[in-house]
C-alpha cells in the first residue's frame, strides 16, 4: 500500500461529508447483512459451527511449518514453482521478475487482497506492464483510479449511478442502459479480449491445501478461471496463513466463509488450482508460480494468533457501525473495518495507525458475526494497550485518563471533585439541559447533556435521604 492521504481525522471528515458515500455503503452492506442473516438462520448450529471452523484454522496454524512443508512438497510434485517472500518488497520483486521473464505486456488480475496488501498494482505499473483488473468491482475502481474500500466489494463506496458514469466515459461500447444487469453485460464485453491477450494472469488464494498442494479460489464471476487458464503463466500470491490441512477442511471453511460474505451456500465457482497444464490438457498455463508471503504473519503467530484465522469474508465490515459511517478509504490501509484495524497496525506500524484500534466502540458485533470467532475487540484493545505503553496516545487524552484514574482510586478525593464539578456544570444548564460545556465539546458539539443533580447518589445515601 502506498501511504494514505492526510490524517485519519481528515479522511473521516471527508467521508462524513460525502452523502453519496453513505448511500452506497448502506446499499451494499445492508444487502449483505440481510442475506447473511437469512443464511445463518437456516443453520441452527451456526454458533457451534463457528467454533468448529476456528478449530480447523487453529489446527493448521498450530502445525503451520508441518503443513507448509507438505503443501510445498505436493505443489512441487504437481509442477508448480514455489517462491517465498519475507515482505512485500520481496514478493513484488518475485512477481515482476516472473512477468518480465515471460515477456509479458498485459497482465490480468483477479481480485486478491494480498495483492493490495503488498502493493502489487503499483509495482506492475512501475514495471511498465498493462494491468487489467477483471473482477467487476476492481474494474470499476481501476477506471476510477481508486483503491478498494471493502475486501469483498471493493467498489462498495460507489453507487450504481457512479458506475454508470464511469462505464459511459471509459467503455469502448457504452452500456445500453444503466440498470445493474446492463452494466454487468457491458463489463463482460469490455474485458473479454483481455483475458486472451494477457501473457500472465495473477490471482490470490483463499486456501493453500497441504494435502494436495493445490490453491483454492472462491469466486462468483468466473473471472478468476478466465484470468488463470488462458495466459501462459499463472502467478498466485498468498499469505502463509491461508494454509489448511485438506480439501475437506477447505470446503468446510468455505461453507461459513460464503454464508458470512454473501449469504449464498457456496460461491458460483470454488476452484482448486494445482500446477501447470498437464501433458494431455487442452487448456491451462504452462507455468504455475506460487508466491508465499510472510509479511508480519510469523510475528502475529505469537502476538495476535487468532487474527490469522481470518477468512476475509467481510462480515465484520458490514456489521461495523464505524465502517458503515466512514467507509473503507478512511482507514488508510489495504484492509478496512474491524479486521483491518487489527491488521493495519501490524503491517504499517502502530504509531502511524494508532487511531484505527481506538476508533471503535468495542460493541462486539464484529466478533459475534465472525465465522471463525476472532475476538476482534480483545485484539483492538491489545493495540490500545500497546499504544498506551509506547506513549503514542495524544498527551491531553492520556493525561485526562491518568488524572481521572488517580482521582477515582481515592474515594474522598473523588467525592470532593464531584462536589466542585457537578454544581459547576449545573451553571451551564438551561431548562434541564447543557448545550455547550467547556472541555466537553466532543460531547456537546452534537448532543445535549442533562443537567446533573444537586447531590450524588452516594451523598444522598450517606445522608439517609432516598430520592
Amino acid at each position: 500500500m502506498s501511504a494514505p492521504a492526510g490524517t485519519f481525522h481528515d479522511r473521516v471528515e471527508k467521508a462524513l461529508h460525502d452523502p453519496q458515500l453513505k448511500i452506497a455503503l448502506e446499499r451494499t452492506t445492508g444487502n449483505a447483512r440481510r442475506k447473511r442473516a437469512a443464511a445463518v438462520e437456516a443453520w441452527p448450529e451456526f454458533s457451534a459451527a463457528r467454533a468448529a471452523a476456528a478449530a480447523i484454522k487453529d489446527h493448521a496454524l498450530a502445525h503451520m511449518a508441518y503443513y507448509l512443508e507438505m503443501f510445498e512438497r505436493n505443489a512441487l510434485a504437481s509442477g508448480a514453482q514455489v517462491h517465498w517472500a519475507r515482505d512485500p518488497d520481496e514478493a513484488r520483486r518475485i512477481v515482476v521478475e516472473i512477468c518480465k521473464a515471460a515477456g509479458a505486456k498485459t497482465v490480468t488480475r483477479s481480485k486478491s487482497m494480498l495483492g493490495e496488501e503488498i502493493g502489487l498494482p503499483h509495482a506492475l505499473a512501475e514495471a511498465g506492464l498493462r494491468r487489467v483488473e477483471t473482477d467487476l468491482a476492481e474494474h470499476i475502481i481501476q477506471l476510477a483510479g481508486e483503491t478498494p474500500s471493502h475486501i469483498i466489494w471493493p467498489a462498495a463506496h460507489r453507487t450504481r449511478e457512479d458506475v454508470a458514469k464511469l462505464f459511459d466515459q471509459y467503455h469502448r461500447e457504452k452500456p445500453p442502459a444503466h440498470d445493474v444487469v446492463s452494466m454487468v453485460g457491458s463489463a463482460r464485453k469490455e474485458l473479454r479480449a483481455d483475458f486472451f491477450a494477457a501473457e500472465v494472469g495473477i490471482s490470490g488464494a483463499n486456501f493453500l491445501v497441504a494435502e494436495t498442494g493445490a490453491i483454492c479460489t472462491i469466486t462468483n464471476e468466473g473471472n478468476a478461471e478466465l484470468t488463470t487458464t488462458p495466459p501462459r503463466v499463472h502467478i498466485v500470491t498468498a499469505g502463509i496463513e491461508k494454509i489448511v490441512a485438506s480439501t475437506e477442511h477447505a470446503l468446510q471453511l468455505t461453507r461459513l466463509l460464503v454464508r458470512s460474505a454473501t449469504g449464498a451456500d457456496l460461491t458460483q465457482y470454488t476452484t482448486f488450482h494445482s500446477g501447470p497444464k498437464r501433458a494431455a490438457d487442452r487448456d491451462g498455463p504452462e507455468q504455475f508460480h506460487i508466491v508465499l508471503v510472510d509479511h508480519e504473519r510469523t510475528k502475529m503467530l505469537s502476538e495476535l494468533p487468532e487474527m490469522l484465522r481470518c477468512l476475509r469474508c467481510g462480515a465484520c465490515l458490514n456489521h461495523c457501525v464505524v465502517y458503515r459511517a466512514i467507509g473503507g478509504h478512511a482507514y488508510g490501509g489495504a484492509y478496512p473495518g474491524p479486521m483491518g484495524s487489527v491488521l493495519t497496525p501490524a503491517f504499517d506500524g502502530l504509531q502511524q495507525t494508532r487511531d484505527l484500534p481506538s476508533a471503535c466502540t468495542l460493541n462486539g458485533q464484529c466478533k459475534q458475526v465472525c465465522p471463525v470467532d476472532i475476538p476482534l475487540p480483545t485484539m483492538l484493545r491489545h493495540w490500545r494497550s500497546r499504544s498506551w505503553r509506547a506513549g503514542y496516545e495524544p498527551k491531553i487524552a492520556g493525561a485526562a485518563i491518568s488524572i481521572w484514574a488517580f482521582v477515582a482510586a481515592r474515594p474522598a478525593l473523588y467525592q470532593l471533585a464531584q462536589t466542585f464539578a457537578l454544581p459547576a456544570m449545573r451553571l451551564f444548564a438551561k431548562a434541564g439541559w447543557i448545550s455547550s460545556l467547556p472541555l466537553a465539546s466532543g460531547w456537546t458539539a452534537h448532543r445535549d447533556f442533562p443537567k446533573p443533580p444537586r447531590q450524588t447518589f452516594l451523598t444522598m445515601i450517606r445522608k439517609g435521604n432516598r430520592s
Binding site: 446499499r27 502445525h63 457456496l266
Partner: protein, 213 residues
C-alpha cells in the same frame, strides 16, 4: 538465510507444537468430525431431488430437467436451443460419452470460442447439499468449457451424486489431482454493484442441468 529458511525459523520460534504425522492427522480428522456434527439435517433419501431443489433455488439460479438416460440428452439440447432461440451449432466438451451420442439435426462440432453462445458438457459428479457440479480438468474436460459460453448445458449422472461437500473430499482422495477442480454452483454472477445480484458476469449467464439415470 534465504526467505524460506527465515520464514520457517520464525514459525518454529513462535510455534513449538509438533508431533507424529499420525497424531496430527487424527487431530485433523477430529476437526472435520466436529464440524460435521453442526451441519443442518438434510433429507438424503433422494439425492436427485435434493440436488434439484438446491441448484434450482433462486439464489443458485440453475434450471434443471430429468431424463431417463444420457441418450435423451440430444433431444433435451434441441428443446433448450429452440426455447432460447439459439443456433443449432454449439461446442461440445470432448468427452467420449457426449461425442458418441446421436445428435440428429443438431450440429455439435463448433469450436469453443470466447463468445460461444452454447456449450454442452458433462459433470464428473454433483454435490446435492449445494447443487454443485464438479469438473476435473483433463483432455476430456478442458476448463474453459465451463467459463466461455453464455449458456452452459450440463449432463449430470444421478448415480454420481454425493450428499455433501465432505463426501466430495473423500471421493477425490482416490483420484489423481487434476490441474483444475471446479465446483460450479449456478450461473456466473456478481453482486459488485450495490450488493445486487446480476447474472452472467464473465462466465455463463445461464446454467441448465440435465440429470440422467
Amino acid at each position: 538465510m534465504n526467505a524460506r529458511e527465515a520464514i520457517f525459523a520464525a514459525i518454529n520460534k513462535a510455534r513449538t507444537e509438533s508431533g507424529a504425522s499420525a497424531a496430527i492427522a487424527a487431530e485433523a480428522q477430529a476437526c472435520s468430525e466436529a464440524m460435521k456434527r453442526t451441519l443442518p439435517a438434510l433429507d438424503l433419501s433422494d439425492l436427485a431431488a435434493l440436488f434439484t431443489a438446491r441448484a434450482g433455488a433462486e439464489k443458485v439460479g440453475a434450471t434443471l430437467e430429468r431424463v431417463a438416460a444420457l441418450g435423451e440428452l440430444p433431444a433435451a439440447v434441441a428443446r433448450y436451443v429452440a426455447a432460447n432461440n439459439l443456433a443449432p451449432d454449439f461446442a461440445v466438451q470432448p468427452d467420449p460419452r457426449l461425442r458418441q451420442l446421436d445428435w440428429g439435426a443438431l450440429r455439435p462440432g463448433a469450436p469453443l470460442r470466447p463468445d460461444s453462445a452454447l456449450a454442452v458438457g458433462i459433470a464428473l459428479c454433483g454435490v446435492a447439499e449445494t447443487g454443485s457440479l464438479v469438473f476435473h480438468s483433463g483432455s476430456e474436460a478442458p476448463t474453459l468449457y465451463e467459463f466461455l459460453p453464455l449458456h452452459h448445458l450440463v449432463a449430470l449422472d444421478a448415480q454420481s451424486l454425493l450428499p455433501r461437500l465432505e463426501d466430495y473430499a473423500v471421493f477425490a482422495r482416490d483420484l489423481a489431482v487434476p490441474r483444475n477442480v471446479n465446483l460450479v454452483t449456478g450461473a456466473s454472477g456478481t453482486t459488485d454493484i450495490e450488493g445486487v445480484l446480476a447474472r452472467g458476469a464473465h462466465g455463463p449467464g445461464r446454467l441448465h442441468i440435465v440429470i440422467f439415470n
